[in-house]
């Protein structure tokens, strides 16, 4: 289990994340949403160990994250970044194989895993193509296959494995946005922990078990999507006025944006409000 304990992060005078404590439990999809600079990616970078907290600590399996060896943690959590640029002509197969760096699997099993994961993201017939030749969306799916390879090669029980997705669907078309989130959901139902940053509130509403709404380094609300996506909260977090359409069929409400936030909303103290005045 991932856990933040009074964790905060400052860059010089700016506070990217105010002290925050939370447990990220396995078996569920936890989604972080918020405007740009709200602190979502900051939380992500603390969980991945890229950044060291200014105060407090990050724990993984009840051990401080910085006491884990790099390859040990790589066998337990995989991270899909927003985008990956490669300057050298790797084949798709070779890029996916990079996910097996910390693995001790024998060559034939690596080969099988790489093939399976490429099939899972729908790129089985692209394996010998050069990564640089693919479109942005295809590149992102190759990276997803690499990340899945890393998770699948692990011998740890599902509950000790985590999939971290930082804006995984930004460059994908609608069909592959859905298929990517379906993959995330299937891992969560197998018992793995999934933590994702999403910009699309409807995707978040549909796939999240828990939603953390952030604004200016603080958490506004942290609850199931049905409660998190309240018009007032969305208006405060994003500075826009939403309409939430309940279709009454038991499905998640559909969120659409009507326009900028109304002037009396607390959210308008933020950047968007100031820009308007």
């Amino acid at each position: 289990m991932f856990e933040l304990k009074s964790t905060s992060l400052n860059y010089g005078d700016t506070t990217a994340l105010w002290p925050y404590s939370r447990q990220f439990k396995p078996g569920r999809i936890t989604v972080l949403v918020g405007a740009n600079g709200a602190g979502k990616t900051t939380i992500m970078s603390l969980l991945t160990g890229e950044r060291t907290p200014s105060t407090g600590a990050v724990f993984f399996q009840n051990r401080n994250l910085n006491t884990w060896k790099v390859h040990e943690i790589a066998q337990r959590r995989a991270v899909l970044p927003q985008r990956t640029h490669l300057s050298f002509p790797f084949t798709v197969y070779e890029v996916v194989g990079l996910g097996l760096m910390a693995s001790t699997r024998p060559p034939y099993e690596r080969k099988r895993l790489i093939g399976e994961m490429l099939a899972r993201v729908g790129l089985a017939d692209h394996r010998s193509r050069l990564y640089q030749q693919l479109s942005g969306g295809e590149q992102q799916r190759v990276q997803l296959a690499r990340v899945l390879c890393q998770l699948e090669a692990s011998d740890e029980p599902p509950k000790d494995r985590y999939l971290l997705l930082d804006e995984p669907v930004t460059s994908l078309d609608i069909r592959h946005q859905i298929s990517t989130m379906e993959i995330a959901r299937s891992y969560a139902s197998q018992g793995l922990g999934v933590i994702a940053v999403l910009h699309d509130l409807n995707l978040a509403a549909h796939y999240a078990d828990e939603v953390i709404v952030m604004r200016e380094g603080r958490v506004l609300t942290d609850c199931p999507p049905a409660y998190a996506f309240d018009p007032d909260i969305i208006e405060e977090a994003f500075g826009v006025r939403p309409e939430i359409v309940d279709r009454g069929d038991g499905l998640m409400p559909f969120i659409s944006v009507l326009g900028p936030a109304s002037p009396d909303m607390p959210g308008t103290h933020g950047t968007s409000g100031q820009a308007r005045n």
Partner: protein, 364 residues
Amino acid sequence: MPSGSVKATLPLMLRGDGDRQEVSAIVLIALGGLFLLVCLASLAVGPVPIPLSEVLLILIGTESGQSAVSASELVVRDIRAPRTVMGALVGAALAASGATLQSLFRNPLADPGLVGVSAGAALAAVTVIVLGVPPILLNTGITTFELLPPAAFIGGLLTTVLLYAIATRQGRTSTATMLLAGIAIAALASALTGVLVFISTDQQLRDLTFWSLGSLAGATWYKCAAIVAFIFPALLMSRFVANGLNGLLLGESQALHIGIQVQRTKILAVLLVALAVGASVAVSGIIGFVGIVVPHILRLIIGPDNRFLLPACMLLGAVLLLSADMIARVVVAPAELPIGIVTAVLGGPFFLWLLLRQRGLVDV
């Protein structure tokens, strides 16, 4: 996407399933064979041609059995053999350092010359040529000539350490800062070298010119022994940084995510480059383009996987430098061209072609 130009960059021997490990193994074996052939040729070719059969006999040692040592044997044993060994070591070192730096900087155009390592080594050597042996060392009886290799090595190492110190904050090395600082350091070192050249005497100027163009002439077993101590550990180290460098190609944070010890990989890679380039510059001056041309050709064939790329670079680097040296020896015999001119004539146009052809691909 400019599909036409992209097609042209397809690897030559891409296998159907995208896995190039077998191709790489075959290429490595072929390069090993080619390397041995070129070594033999390098012993045979020169102002005085010696037949291959005689070279082989000399190598086996049957020739010297009965009588006095023949002229051919002297040439092969004391002139061409050390030169061949030195050429192979320098070629391997330069090509492997080039490939290492390119992975470290995630930039296919990076080169030991670019980050100032060569310039730093050269500055130290030129200082020794122009200013002579420092007073502290006068009592030791060391000559200017003998001081050159260690000075160039120390210069290369200091530059690399300085570069690293500038680019590292709180245990993290910024590649961009390192690249830019390298360019600045190289410019500074070149300027200081220029000042030294300006105040040098005519004889020193001759030495400097010779040196700055790069040459394998004057190879001795003594020099070989001196650089083997630096280059061999560097080449061995490449085995242990190859995986880490592969990971770094994804970017530093992702390298960390897949289980690479980023900081350790970077330190080892920098050390590898300093050792290899410092030692090479010390004995052969600045020989350009090997570090850029060789990795590039090989990436087209076997891909960028450093586990195969680095050893292949060593072999092809040695092959290329020994071939260039043979050209340098025979083209204006009995005089000889500095080898740096040969590699520049071959490598310069290649580099330009690379730039032009890559333009469409760089931002894809």
